[in-house]
């Protein structure tokens, strides 16, 4: 053996021979093909449309490059720039309110022994079932010109910032709540024991242990609330009145005035803060991961009468308010003529009276949402699998994992107009997709890709990394092991993804509003158009149809998990 002293080389790369490449077997080709397919999908469905949007902002209506002219025009039009401040104002205000209420509620759920926690929590997350137009419709019923509770506004109109803020608080509440519940339940009991042992006062413990412990959760929650409120279209569309925000501006420019370049500019303006908050969230999440170690002891709250009652009271009020919002739309959808004739009726559900699509929009929604769920789960999970476990094409795999994160930063509305620019471009061979159900499916899947992808890759990272190696040594092709082992092991998460994609596809409207045709109109888009036409009761009814459906799907999901899945998962028990 050569024992001579080795001099560290400054240029090892130059000396080392090129990487020896294994010859590709059939499996490797199939794997590479799969990676390529997912990569192409993300490029076509996410990257290229955004590029088209970007390019459009620098063109005039005739498609000629005009540099920054559109931006100059935009920023010199006060009626347009006013929307930036309006948007920032309503988004900030609703963020402060939602995060405050959400924190109190989450604290009550995780750190106190208040009664009825299960019921309160269930009520608090109901907004997740509905499209964002629903709270706005309820607000109109409650506080509108003929509203029962109009007096509570002291003469202010619900149409405008007040309505938007209230609607956004409702709409963003469950998202904020879930993040904060997670953050608060990750507490390490040992810290609290230490504080106790040192005789720290409760108030001080709260400031020195509790709050710092959830600071990342608070930042994430605030960022999510802000982004959702900023980019949401449904609430502002229904109760915005003459108060313009960015989201409605995009719509007006593109659909109303057919001013595509200006629409693109507003879209980019809307994209900027969303992108920024996306980066903040990423940063925060990386920090948060390390917080809870395997040795941490989970905190279990001890009963404390006074505190528990206070929290119960506050949380009940919040939950009641949420229930009232949902209840109002539900109730109104069965009422003949609010508030004059309160007899019950089903006429509001006869959508053919108010919309040429009638109930077809609902069946369209079902078809669309099921396609997104089924195809999406397969693409997302398969893609995440290939990214995590694949061996070939390392660069493309990395590109996929980056591209998969991008949609989270892109508001639906922006993705929607990006699709118009990209798929409507005369040179695009994929133009035939425009106006079909397929484009709605692709768009919705792209829009919600990130969350689904992240849950898939999280679970896949937990799956033993050597299954593929073992299966190669046993001469079993990887897809067989994927089907026989990986998928069964990940089944609960796959079901999560399926339900998530279905439910979000059902409630989303923001990007579809640009892409539907009378034949492919979905229920959520119908809510907007029916409301636009002044038939608010039918709009409420259509929104409720969506709520019933998502509630049914979630219920079915629970049943499947409890009774169906358990059978196939016997191996999980010890």
């Amino acid at each position: 053996m050569n024992q001579s002293v080795r001099v560290p080389s400054l240029a090892p790369a130059a000396r080392t021979p090129r990487r020896l490449r294994l010859s590709m077997g059939r499996e490797d080709w199939i794997m590479a093909g799969g990676i390529l397919a997912v990569g192409v999908f993300l490029i076509v469905a996410v990257a290229l449309p955004l590029l088209a949007l970007f390019v459009k902002a620098f063109e005039n209506r005739a498609g000629e490059f005009v540099g920054l002219a559109n931006f100059a025009a935009y920023f010199s039009t006060p009626s347009l720039t006013q929307s930036i401040w309006n948007s920032l104002f309503v988004a900030s205000a609703s963020t402060v309110i939602t995060v405050t209420l959400g924190f109190v509620f989450a604290y009550g759920l995780t750190r106190t022994c208040m009664p009825l926690r299960g019921v309160l929590r269930a009520l608090a997350v109901t907004p997740i079932l509905s499209p964002s137009m629903l709270p706005a419709i309820s607000l109109v019923y409650l506080f509108g010109n003929k509203g029962f509770a109009k007096g509570l506004l002291f003469g202010n109109s619900i149409y405008g910032p007040i309505g938007i803020i209230m609607g956004e608080v409702y709409y963003t509440f469950p998202h904020v709540l879930l993040i904060l519940v997670t953050a608060l339940s990750m507490a390490d009991a040992r810290l609290y024991e230490a504080a106790d042992a040192l005789g720290t006062s409760r108030w001080r413990t709260f400031w020195t242990v509790t709050l710092p412990g959830v600071r990342y959760g608070l930042v994430s929650a605030a960022v999510v609330a802000f982004t959702l409120a900023l980019t949401d279209f449904g609430v502002a569309k229904v109760v915005g009145g003459r108060f313009n925000v960015l989201a409605t501006d995009v719509y007006k420019q593109v659909i109303g005035q057919k001013n595509f370049p200006m629409g693109a500019v507003v879209g980019l303006v809307l994209l900027a803060p969303a992108l920024l908050s996306f980066l903040v969230t990423r940063h925060v999440q990386k920090r948060q991961k390390a917080q809870l170690s395997a040795r941490s002891v989970l905190l279990t709250p001890q009963p404390q009468k006074g505190r528990d009652l206070v929290f119960f009271a506050v949380c009940s009020v919040i939950a009641l308010a949420i229930a009232t919002m949902l209840g109002t739309s539900a109730f109104a959808s069965f009422i003949k003529l609010w508030p004059y004739d309160l007899t019950l009726t089903l006429t509001n559900y006869d959508f053919s009276l108010v919309d040429s699509s009638g109930w077809t929009s609902y069946t369209n929604s079902l078809v669309m949402a099921s396609s997104v769920a089924v195809i999406g789960t397969a693409v997302v999970f398969g893609g995440a699998y290939l990214v995590e476990k694949g061996r070939s094409l390392p660069l493309l795999r990395h590109a996929i994992s980056v591209l998969a994160l991008l949609p989270l930063a892109v508001p639906g509305l922006v993705l929607g107009i990006a699709y118009i620019f990209f798929f409507n471009h005369p040179a695009n061979p994929l133009g035939f997709l425009m106006g079909t159900m397929a484009i709605l499916v692709i768009n919705t899947l792209a829009h919600y890709y990130t969350v689904a992808h992240l849950s898939a890759s999280t679970i896949l990272k937990q799956v033993d990394g050597e299954y593929e190696a073992v299966s190669a040594s046993l001469k079993v092709p990887f897809w067989r092991t994927f089907a026989l082992v990986t998928v069964p092991v990940c089944l609960p998460t796959i079901l999560d993804i399926l339900v998530y994609l279905f439910a979000t596809a059902l409630t989303t409207a923001s990007s579809l509003i640009f892409l539907y045709t009378p034949d492919t109109k979905t229920a959520s888009v119908a809510v907007i158009s029916i409301d636009d036409a002044g038939n608010i009761a039918s709009a409420a009814a259509m929104a409720m149809v969506i709520v019933y459906t998502s509630a049914a799907v979630r219920g079915l999901d629970l049943l499947v998990r409890r009774f169906g899945l358990a059978r196939f998962q016997r191996w999980r028990q010890r």
Binding site: M1, N2, Q3, S4, V5, R6, P8, P12, A13, T16, P17, R18, R19, L20, R21, L22, S23, M24, G25, E27, D28, D464, E466, Y467, A469, V470, S471, A472, S473, L474, K475, V476, P477, R480, T481, L484, V485, P488, V489, Q569, R570, W571, R572, Q573, R574
Partner: protein
């Protein structure tokens, strides 16, 4: 180089190198393993054992170098086209399949008829003493049982080569002992060429026909357990395999070494060097002889006595050798006779021709 009566070379590694970025995990590793041999890759953590094993399997191919298995160049073959069974440290058992299904996994894919699979699975289960647990899922098995399922699964297709990456490291001491014997037994019965990665020298010494001692991406020494123990070629080998005392010394013109001015006659294998060159002298604890004080030797003082069952481990301070920590192993009978206890005075003797001499610093440390 292969003697006629020895089995033919089954696996031949030639100049295997592997780097991760600028970090060299393997440098120019060459090695031949004969058919039916049981070889252990031994070395400290991070020395490249797993990397070498994975290169042989094709899981993380080497950057350069050639691998030949059974006369066939497999350097560029993907793992699925190589012929090996493998057991990972994590076992990588399929959690949703029973022990029987895990073992029969590869057979089922080959379209072997059901009854034949069952027969083969039962045969393998008997081999690894797992028969009564075949219907259980991995989560219902103990660590040792899981390990045996993984072993049986790796053997199911009768591979020509068995690769084991620290298969026993996740188990507690007693189970390890037991499974070590079981692995040896399986190897004896099947005669399958086996490579096992371990950083446990005892495991390597008791199991292997030959040990491949690795350090920092290179092979330090290859040899039978006794060769490695008796004639380590480097200070690293002497330190890593078995216990050793290291004393600083200097070469002398007459072929002896001086430790603190005291001449010692070293054993075989001493390399000639410049007189007065600084060296390290390695003494195994059992090579140090103890006698009653005044019976002849270097006066020593006992600083610690450890009872180890079949022998006593005595730590001494020997002023004559300038050594404040010399470890000696003493048979219990002698230990009793010397009335060994902390503070006791004895004489220590280093017989001629046993000490090993190495260059002063670990060559690696100089790099």
């Amino acid at each position: 180089m292969t003697a006629p009566e020895e089995p033919p070379v089954y696996l031949r590694l030639q100049n295997i190198s592997k780097h991760f970025g600028t970090f060299h995990a393997l440098r120019d590793v060459s090695l031949s393993i004969r058919k039916g041999e049981f070889v252990c890759f031994l070395g400290p953590s991070g020395c490249g054992k797993t990397t070498l094993l994975r290169a042989i399997a094709g899981l993380d191919p080497q950057n350069s170098g050639r691998i030949e298995q059974d006369g066939r160049d497999i350097s560029r073959l993907p793992p699925a086209q190589r012929d090996f069974g493998i057991v990972f440290q994590s076992y990588a058992l399929f959690p949703n399949l029973t022990a029987a299904e895990n073992i029969g996994y590869g057979l089922r894919n080959r379209g072997v008829p059901g009854h034949e699979i069952r027969a083969r699975v039962e045969q393998l289960a008997t081999l690894v003493h797992l028969y009564e647990h075949l219907h259980k899922y991995p989560s219902q098995l103990s660590g040792g049982q899981q390990q045996r399922v993984a072993l049986a699964r790796a053997l199911a297709l009768s591979p020509g080569l068995l690769l084991l990456d620290e298969p026993l490291s996740a188990l507690d001491a007693q189970v390890r002992q037991f499974l070590r014997r079981e692995i040896k037994e399986v190897h004896r019965r099947l005669g399958i060429t086996t490579i096992m990665v371990t950083h446990d020298q005892e495991e390597a010494l008791t199991l292997s026909d030959r040990i491949v001692l690795m350090n920092r991406g290179v092979i330090e020494q290859v040899g039978t357990p006794t060769e490695l123990y008796r004639t380590p070629r480097t200070a690293f080998a002497a330190a890593f395999v078995g216990q050793s005392n290291f004393l600083p010394g200097r070469l002398r013109a007459d072929g002896t070494v001086a430790v603190n001015g005291v001449p010692l006659r070293p054993g075989v294998g001493v390399q000639a060097g410049m007189p007065d060159e600084p060296v390290q002298i390695c003494l195994r604890p059992e090579q140090v002889e103890l006698r009653p004080a005044g019976a002849g030797g270097y006066p020593a003082q006992v600083t610690d006595v450890e009872f180890c069952g079949s022998f006593w481990r005595v730590t001494l301070s020997v002023e004559a050798l300038g050594c404040r920590r010399l470890v000696a192993d003493v048979p219990p009978a002698l230990g009793g006779a010397l009335a060994l206890a902390e503070g006791a005075a004895v004489d220590a003797l280093v017989p001629d021709g046993v000490a090993q001499v190495f260059p002063e610093v670990f060559p690696e440390a100089a790099a």
